[in-house]
């Protein structure tokens, strides 16, 4: 069975490009625009990985991540941060909160993101 990925990203084109890329690789993809929507979807069904943006309308990605890690049902789901915030403080905060990795959008291509996702899922 193919892995299920939840993409939480508010920028429509970025969301489309990365979802397309994931679907082309055979993953099942669900999308969320806001943090709250993302958390609701996570509670409804099980995902194998969450791709998380940080600056989101409403509750931000850090808060979403903190809630995922607090919830015993969800805490084992790997979260990969994909954001354009890239200051050391933010990266450290994301990793400390329990993200498996932190990618800066402007520094990676969609194929590189997919490589990372494959590696995480293979663990």
């Amino acid at each position: 069975m193919s892995a299920k990925i939840l993409i939480i990203e508010d920028e429509p084109f970025l969301r489309k490009v990365i979802s397309d890329e994931c679907r082309e690789k055979g993953y099942f993809v669900e999308e969320a625009i806001e943090g709250k929507e993302g958390l609701e979807k996570l509670k409804k069904e099980k995902f194998d990985l969450v791709l998380l943006d940080l600056l989101l309308p409403g509750i931000d990605g850090f808060e979403v991540l903190a809630q995922i890690k607090k919830d015993p049902e969800l805490s084992k789901t790997p979260v990969l941060i994909l954001s354009n915030l890239g200051q050391k403080e933010e990266i450290e905060k994301g990793l400390k909160l329990g993200a498996v990795d932190y990618l800066i959008k402007a520094h990676v291509t969609p194929s590189e993101i997919l490589e990372k996702i494959e590696k995480i899922l293979a663990r």
Partner: protein, 347 residues
């Protein structure tokens, strides 16, 4: 005559653009000037009051707390008096023959500077993020087209898209440089240092820029000593950035089929010397003095590469100096440039 001089001193203190308060040995206010009165709303009846009484006055609370503790140890400290009043304050002990006879306190109102500085930082961080997002969208879309996931491309379409993608990457680099510059100006250069090998950093940067070197058919020579060099205490990401900036420049400002030589050597067990020499366009004599200045770009460099930020060398110099090293160069216009930096070996 002496009286007249005393009056001169008094007027000078009175008119100083900084706030001045003088305390006696019992920490009673014996003098304040116009500026101090203006900034802190001091009144004549505060004079000669005991510290206990001063503490009761609401607007003097933050200041009287300073009177009480660590009063002699303050130099250029930022003190928030209230929401819209921030002072930079220093104190100075007044002594006569070893005997303490009072304290001089001087300060200025830096509220405006502090808020401007904060605005500037917030603006840059936000601008960096807001700029990166549309650039990422373009980058991602173009990379997908380039990988021919959407459909086949002819070679001309491919080369155009590659150029566009590179332009976007340069734009990202400029934004990154700008962020590094803000960090430097906040005094936050070295964030996490660890022992690391400079050779490994050179290898990493070469792997990063290898395709650029190959594309320009540059003849690259790397000289490392036979025995591995001792590790250096460094902020790894920052030193990577320095080596990357220097190699980036060498590649950019060297003609096709040019030559770049990178060398690493230990100097008398005290430091490691890194050098990178090219036979590129060189730095014009009259512009040499300004080469490490923020935003400065040499005229001939602008012709070769119109879109640089002029921040790479400024950032490099600040990083190397924060590590206790030195950075310099030798250059002849039209012949080439050699950049050098040293990093101290700390055992």
């Amino acid at each position: 005559m002496e009286d007249k001089n005393l009056i001169r001193f008094k007027i000078a203190l009175e008119k100083l653009p900084q706030g001045i308060i003088i305390l006696d040995e019992r920490k009673r206010i014996i003098f304040f000037n116009q500026k101090a009165q203006e900034i802190l709303n001091l009144r004549e009846d505060f004079l000669f009051k005991e510290i206990e009484e001063i503490k009761e006055i609401e607007e003097l609370k933050p200041i009287s707390e300073i009177f009480e503790k660590e009063i002699f140890k303050i130099f250029g400290k930022e003190i928030k008096i209230k929401e819209d009043l921030i002072l930079r304050l220093s104190t100075f002990e007044l002594k006569e023959d070893q005997e303490e006879i009072g304290t001089l306190i001087f300060f200025s109102d830096i509220t405006r500077e502090v808020s401007l500085e904060r605005l500037k930082k917030e603006f840059i961080a936000l601008a960096a993020h807001q700029l990166r997002t549309p650039i990422s969208a373009a980058q991602w879309g173009i990379s997908k087209i380039l990988e021919e996931k959407i459909g086949p491309l002819n070679s001309k379409q491919k080369s155009y898209l590659e150029e566009i993608l590179q332009t976007l990457q340069r734009l990202v680099k400029i934004i990154d440089d700008l962020l590094h510059t803000t960090k430097i100006e906040e005094g936050k250069i070295l964030e996490k240092t660890q022992k690391f090998s400079l050779e490994a950093i050179v290898d990493y940067v070469l792997s990063l820029l290898g395709s650029e070197i190959a594309k320009k058919k540059i003849n690259l020579e790397v000289n490392k000593p036979f025995n591995p060099l001792p590790p250096i205490q460094m902020d790894v990401e920052k030193i990577k950035l320095v080596v990357q900036n220097l190699l980036d420049n060498a590649i950019k400002y060297t003609r096709e089929s040019g030559r770049i030589v990178i060398s690493l050597e230990e100097r008398s067990g005290k430091e490691i010397l890194f050098s990178i020499k090219d036979n590129g366009i060189g730095i014009p004599e009259k512009e040499k003095e300004r080469i490490f200045t923020k935003f400065f770009r040499a005229e001939n460099a602008q012709k070769v590469e119109p879109s640089g930020s002029g921040l790479g060398l400024y950032v490099a110099k600040n990083i190397i100096e924060a590590h206790g090293g030195k950075i310099w160069f030798e250059s002849k216009e039209g012949k080439g440039t050699a950049f050098y930096f040293t990093l101290p070996i700390i055992i």
